[in-house]
């Protein structure tokens, strides 16, 4: 498939010099010949190239300078103390070693994997809590996704018929996703009492906001021809949405919902920090009361669960996207 380059008429041919100082970095150049413009035509081109490079370089430098200033100011604000960090960097290793070492019982001071049974002494209890965490994430995702599905068509630029309704729905979704779910959980724990219910509701509200935005973006990107067709055939707004928009967006919606489910599993794992159910309650207790081996056991269980969910949802999403690509 290698063809000779077309020979331009009027120019001369010779090998471009390859700077030898670049040789150690970029390797040896292959011997090749390139057409070379006559010098009088080349000079202005080279000049404008150098000019363009200079402005680009200046822009990069300016951006870097601004970034540096912002970072330094932010560092001042956030009391970054690199000296303390460097002084205590060893503590990171210590902590990791410590959580993987038994701190009591017959095996004091030994690596946790030497007695996995003792390490995972609470497996049944923790397993139940992780199952509860998954259920919280699932229920929150499902309820949030349904709410987002209902709202997204009203918030989309191409389908929302009333400007004021669209603006209201958009503001509502923004509110739902900007207030962190833990803040909702904190408030709901006071209103509804301790337990999984406030956790589910908090996740559902946050999911409504996050998915509502993504869903409405998907809807804004649909092919409008079916919508026009349905409207031309006398379809009402509901019928237009049902028969022209929904079939186009469903697989994307499902894919985004799966992604959100995975995020929500992680979010549900810390709901217990504020008393809203799931494994978080036991984790924060173990960390605060310095039950080191328990910390690592619960963390390993959470990480394993998140990984499994991650793999499953990714596989499902690829199948969904693949199906869409085929049709």
């Amino acid at each position: 498939m290698i063809r000779d380059p077309p020979v331009p008429t009027g120019g001369s041919f010779h090998v471009l010099p390859f700077p030898s100082r670049l040789r150690p970095i970029f390797g040896d150049p292959m011997p090749t010949s390139l057409p070379r413009l006559p010098d009088d035509r080349l000079a202005p081109l080279l000049g404008s190239y150098a000019e363009a490079m200079r402005t680009a370089r200046l822009k990069t430098l300016a951006a870097a300078a601004i970034l540096a200033v912002v970072v330094i100011v932010a560092g001042r604000f956030a009391e970054v103390d690199l000296a303390r960090m460097i002084g205590r960097i060893g503590t990171v290793g210590d902590y990791v070693v410590r959580i993987f070492t038994f701190d009591g019982g017959d095996n004091v001071g030994r690596f946790v994997l030497t007695a996995p049974g003792e390490w995972m002494w609470g497996l049944v209890h923790w397993g139940k809590l992780i199952f509860e965490t998954l259920l919280i994430a699932y229920a929150g995702t499902a309820m949030g996704a349904v709410a987002a599905f209902v709202l997204c068509f009203m918030a989309a630029r191409n389908l929302g018929r009333h400007p004021w309704l669209r603006a209201t729905v958009k503001r509502f979704l923004e509110f739902c996703r900007t207030v962190p779910e833990l803040v909702f959980a904190l408030i709901f724990v006071i209103a509804f009492g301790l337990g999984a219910m406030p956790g589910v509701l908090a996740i559902a509200i946050h999911t409504t906001g996050a998915l509502g935005k993504m869903f409405s973006e998907v809807v804004e990107n649909i092919d409008m021809k079916p919508v026009e067709g349905a409207t031309a055939a006398g379809g009402s707004w509901w019928q237009t949405v049902r028969f022209a928009a929904v079939p186009q967006v469903l697989s994307n919606f499902a894919s985004y919902t799966l992604l959100r489910f995975e995020i929500n599993v992680r979010g549900a794992s810390v709901m217990g920090f504020v008393g809203a159910g799931g494994i978080g309650q036991d984790l924060i207790e173990a960390i605060r009361k310095f039950y080191y081996a328990d910390v690592s056991a619960i963390l390993v269980l959470i990480i394993a669960t998140v990984m499994v969910i991650d793999l499953l949802t990714e596989r499902l999403r690829h199948r969904l996207i693949g199906r869409e690509a085929r049709t």
Binding site: V71, A78, L186, R266
Partner: protein, 309 residues
């Protein structure tokens, strides 16, 4: 398309508008259904089975939801009572107020701290994740084993929530915003590593081939073939995360890792609802402003393009 044309101009003449059509197919199409099925097999193929599967999936998902709600002790009585409580809280929230001016300045300062935590956390995470984005990409890291372990390692880091990272870092550097920065850095390091490597895997292979064909080494191929393609994508993702991290930075104060979250938790726990509403408003405004700024820069860098999170 051809079906529609033939329906309106078919042997039955124009479709009557008054008669209710039960089937989705028009009268002409119903009569000639067999021929149509032969001509457009994709439209008709397996529709009953597909429908059955859809119904089964929806029923299954709904059943699981009901089971979850039952298992998690949902009760309508509790929801009703709780909503009443919430409405009561809402009435107590107006007007938003901090009580004293001194407290308001305290809030403002901690809000600045929150933004600083988010900025520094995102920035350090991006810098640290940069090389790993290439190490975890299949088209750069051809060593399968190393690629696998880099990916899994990043997934492990990503699997731990920011709040858990904050708790761990507090044990190392003590209470305060520094622990918050490290927490955001840790959890974003995993996310960035994954996103960056996906961006690297999605590059157009032709510039890389071009550099290789002129005799460029592996490093030159990355620098001149891949980097110019992925840098704007990276920048867009980092800016997007800066905005979403501002949201997460507002809560890490719950465990004592700095920022406005400490005051918010305190206000909620002591039922100071006017302060709660003020703090929430402050967060909303800040996030909106940062959203505006970051999306401006993002569009300037990469043009209007959707970002996969």
């Amino acid at each position: 398309m051809s079906v529609l044309v033939q329906m309106s101009g078919g042997p039955d003449g124009p479709m009557s508008t008054t008669r209710k059509v039960r089937s989705a197919l028009g009268p002409w199409a119903r009569e000639n259904r067999r021929e149509l099925e032969k001509r457009h097999p994709a439209v008709f193929a397996g529709s009953p089975t597909n429908r059955a599967i859809t119904v089964a999936v929806v029923l299954g998902l709904f059943g699981l939801l009901v089971f979850a709600l039952w298992r998690l002790d949902f009760s309508f009585a509790r929801i009703g009572a709780g909503i009443g409580q919430l409405a009561h809280f809402l009435t107590l929230m107006v007007p938003p107020s901090s009580g004293t001016w001194a407290r308001f300045w305290l809030f403002l300062h901690s809000l600045g701290e929150t933004v600083a935590i988010s900025l520094l956390g995102t920035f350090t995470a991006a810098v640290l994740a940069f090389p790993f984005g290439f190490l975890a990409a299949k088209n750069v890291m051809t060593q399968r084993v190393l690629h696998f372990f880099t990916r899994r390692g990043l997934d492990t880091i990503r699997g731990v929530d920011t709040l858990i990272w904050a708790l761990i870092w507090i044990n190392v550097v003590g209470l305060g915003p520094f622990a918050g920065i490290l927490a955001i850095m840790s959890s974003d390091f995993g996310s960035f590593g994954k996103l960056f490597s996906e961006a690297v895997e999605a590059v157009d292979g032709k510039p890389v081939e071009g550099v290789a064909s002129t005799g460029g080494s592996q490093l030159a191929r990355i620098r001149f073939g891949i980097l110019p393609q992925v840098l704007p994508v990276f920048a867009g993702q980092v800016l997007y995360y800066f905005e979403s991290n501002t949201r997460s930075a507002t809560i890490i104060g719950i465990v004592g890792a700095g920022g406005i979250g400490m005051y918010l938790t305190e206000a909620i726990r002591t039922l100071e609802w006017q302060q709660v509403s003020l703090l929430v408003l402050m967060i909303l405004v800040t996030v909106a402003v940062i959203d505006q700024i970051s999306s401006r820069i993002r569009f300037a860098v990469i043009g209007e393009r959707r970002i996969e999170t």
